[in-house]
């Protein structure tokens, strides 16, 4: 073997290794195969109609034990409900941006009839693809833009946060609560405010301290933020970041905290007061049914405790009875529709009135929350 050809061989060996690595990394896309899933063309001869193809686009890994995990539980519930009448696919870890558009277009082109995109940043890409595939139904979680074949759905996380606040107000000894917050958007501000209002409903002395981590997911950083809140005197923590780090930091320090998005009781048995869980399956079942019976129309759906989409699960045994009773009372009010978290008189933390006495907040008010309620310390970080 000449020196040149030996070098070329090594060169190719290196490239092959790289390509193999890239291929291994690139296989983020997983199909949940239905072995009998027939191509649409074959359906004429088949005794059964071809299954309705349903696709999901996830921003995180299904193994995140939080946001994406909860959506994937919803997908599994769909399969359990409709069996071989549907075939589901999902693509996980899709970045919010140019790649999302390609992924959604691919899914539409593959014959999926309804596509769920489960993160805010998928809104614009989905809107673009929706215009190209008028006979496919598009569903976008947590957004605000719609089209004739694209609609939006959301959950009332702040109802969970309020219920958590009730427990926090009862359990705190320092009267200082902590919140590890991701980004200053209305969704997150509603949660901080609801948490504080819930606590104040049972303990007027409560104040809330907020630390912004500017990420949805960075466990060591979430843990750092929780630690600094605890160092500053907070003893019951809530977060709307996606990992279990805050809960575990509370456990290490002998403080209390909550699970978020899914049941996290197992990771911190002593610190875990309850988990704010979201169950997307009621909506997913309804959406698929709408497509099947042809009643699908553009609308906005925001469900909460009343519809079984949100709930405060796994309340710890050591929580005193009166606190549990109070939570049940509020929960019943939410279910009956008689209780609204944001009801006037409501002051922000500069003393300005945001809701007059007796007024219940409507959807457009909730969409524009840009303040802390009285009792939250500090100022919301702004871009300027």
């Amino acid at each position: 073997m000449t020196d040149l050809s030996k070098r070329r061989l090594l060169h190719w060996a290196g490239i092959t290794t790289l390509a193999a690595t890239a291929a291994l990394v690139g296989c983020g896309k997983k199909e949940e195969p239905k072995p009998t899933a027939a191509a649409p063309a074959a359906s004429a001869a088949a005794p059964k109609p071809a299954p309705l193809k349903v696709a999901f686009v996830y921003v995180g890994p299904v193994g995140d034990a939080g946001w994406t995990f909860a959506h994937d539980q919803g997908r599994k519930a769909l399969e359990a409900e409709y069996g071989d009448r549907i075939a589901t696919t999902f693509v996980e870890k899709v970045p919010e941006g140019a790649d999302a558009e390609r992924v959604i277009r691919d899914l539409a082109a593959q014959g999926n009839k309804i596509i769920f995109a489960t993160s805010f940043g998928f809104m614009e890409p989905m809107l673009k693809v929706a215009a190209e595939f008028p006979d496919v139904k598009f569903e976008h979680a947590t957004g605000y833009k719609t089209a004739p074949n694209m609609r939006i759905y959301d959950a009332k996380f702040y109802e969970d946060a309020y219920l958590a606040g009730v427990l926090a107000g009862k359990m705190t000894k320092s009267n200082t609560l902590g919140f590890v917050a991701s980004f200053p958007i209305p969704e997150v501000l509603r949660n901080i405010n609801a948490y504080t209002l819930g606590a104040q409903s049972v303990n007027p002395k409560v104040k809330t301290r907020v630390v912004w981590v500017n990420t949805w997911f960075d466990p060591p950083k979430e843990s750092d933020a929780a630690q600094s809140l605890i160092n500053g005197g907070a003893d019951v923590l809530l977060q709307n970041t996606d990992s279990t780090a805050v809960l575990q930091t509370a456990e290490k320090n002998g403080k209390y905290a909550f699970g978020w998005d899914s049941d996290m009781s197992a990771v911190a048995p002593k610190a875990h007061l309850a988990s704010c869980v979201v169950d997307w399956s009621p909506y997913y079942k309804k959406a698929v049914k709408d497509v099947m019976d042809g009643s699908w129309k553009t609308e906005r759906t925001v469900w909460g405790v009343k519809e079984g989409q949100n709930s405060l699960a796994k309340i710890a045994d050591f929580v005193p009875e009166d606190a549990k009773k109070k939570v049940d009372e509020v929960k019943d009010g939410m279910k009956a529709g008689s209780f609204e978290v944001f009801t006037g008189p409501l002051l922000d933390n500069t003393g300005k009135e945001r809701l007059a006495k007796g007024v219940q907040a409507d959807q457009s008010w909730k969409d524009k929350v840009d303040f802390y309620v009285k009792g939250v310390e500090g100022k919301i970080p702004s871009g300027n």
């Binding site: 990394v25 630690q227 600094s228 990992s243 197992a266």
Partner: protein
């Protein structure tokens, strides 16, 4: 006062994984090999360490598993770049991507699992001193070992014969080869040692610091460690300083936010990067100093004969 002590304590803990990884990378860079795979190596080691701690309940075995996993992956990287002379930048990036995917793949079963509680460590007697006790003497032993390691690396690189050989190979591999030193094997040893230290850093994150496993747990700390070695101009004690500075400013900005200081959190979030770069750039501002310390053959392949 108490809050300041806790801030100091948090600084030491959050700087430790950066310092460990930074010191490891410094070793293999001093031998002339740039390993951009640090992030992936830390991730693979983090899951290996977590799995070991979960199965055996032993921190020591967890660190050993992390070091072993990090060392093995680094050895594969070393084999590619040192013997096959693949491009160090591309291979390092591939290792990073591979580590991310591979750790997520093997770690699926460990998401949301809880480690057995370990009793908190404290230095006898010293831990009872007011202020200094909670600030300095209630840490995991790895925090102290990291400081000892930095001093050991200073001694090794600048006072021992083996360290001199290592630096010579990083400066002028052809000359070292002509003198009869086995350039490739020394480089491989340095790369494996560096990977093992990155591995210990990864295990520290998943077993002691977080302590949990989720996909992408390391969240960019491998890249920060890489940047630290450069900004510290390849001096071990400056890597240590930079790591604590980065950890300290991170914790400080959280403490400020928690106290309700009215500064945009996005600005505060930028501070650790800014402060570390400014301070290290200031103490290393002499260009001649950088030239002397930067391994001349860094990132370049070596062909014997």
């Amino acid at each position: 006062m108490n809050e300041i002590a806790l801030l100091v304590a948090a600084t030491l803990a959050s700087g430790t994984p950066l310092a460990l990884a930074g010191l490891g990378l410094l070793l293999n860079e001093k031998a002339g090999v740039l390993n951009l795979g640090a992030e992936g190596i830390m991730l693979v080691a983090a899951i290996a360490g977590f799995a070991a701690a979960f199965t055996t309940g032993s921190d020591t075995l967890a660190f050993a598993a992390g070091a072993l996993a990090g060392g093995l992956l680094a050895a594969a990287f070393g084999g590619l770049v040192i013997w096959l002379n693949t491009n160090q930048y591309a291979t390092g990036l591939a290792v990073s991507l591979f580590g991310y995917g591979f750790s997520a793949f093997v770690g699926v079963g460990y998401v949301g699992k809880k480690l057995a509680e370990s009793s908190p460590f404290e230095v006898p007697l010293l831990a009872d001193i007011p202020f200094l006790g909670p600030a300095l003497f209630k840490h995991h032993p790895m925090v102290y070992l990291t400081i000892a390691l930095a001093l050991a690396i200073v001694w090794f690189l600048y006072r021992s014969r083996a360290g001199l050989v290592l630096r010579a190979i990083g400066e002028a591999p052809e000359s070292a080869h002509a003198l009869g030193y086995r350039v490739r094997w020394v480089r491989l040893a340095a790369v494996v040692a560096g990977g093992a230290l990155c591995g210990v850093a990864g295990a520290f994150l998943s077993v002691v610091y977080a302590p949990l496993w989720v996909e992408g747990l390391v969240a960019g700390r491998g890249w920060i460690a890489l940047a630290l070695t450069t900004f510290a101009t390849w001096r071990p004690l400056r890597v240590l300083l930079g790591a604590y500075l980065f950890g300290g400013v991170t914790m400080l900005q959280f403490a400020l936010q928690g106290a309700g200081v009215n500064v945009a959190s996005q600005l505060l979030a930028m501070l650790p990067y800014l402060a570390t770069i400014v301070v290290l750039a200031l103490i290393s501002r002499n260009p001649a100093w950088i030239r002397i310390n930067m391994p001349a053959s860094l990132g370049k392949p070596f062909h014997p004969g």
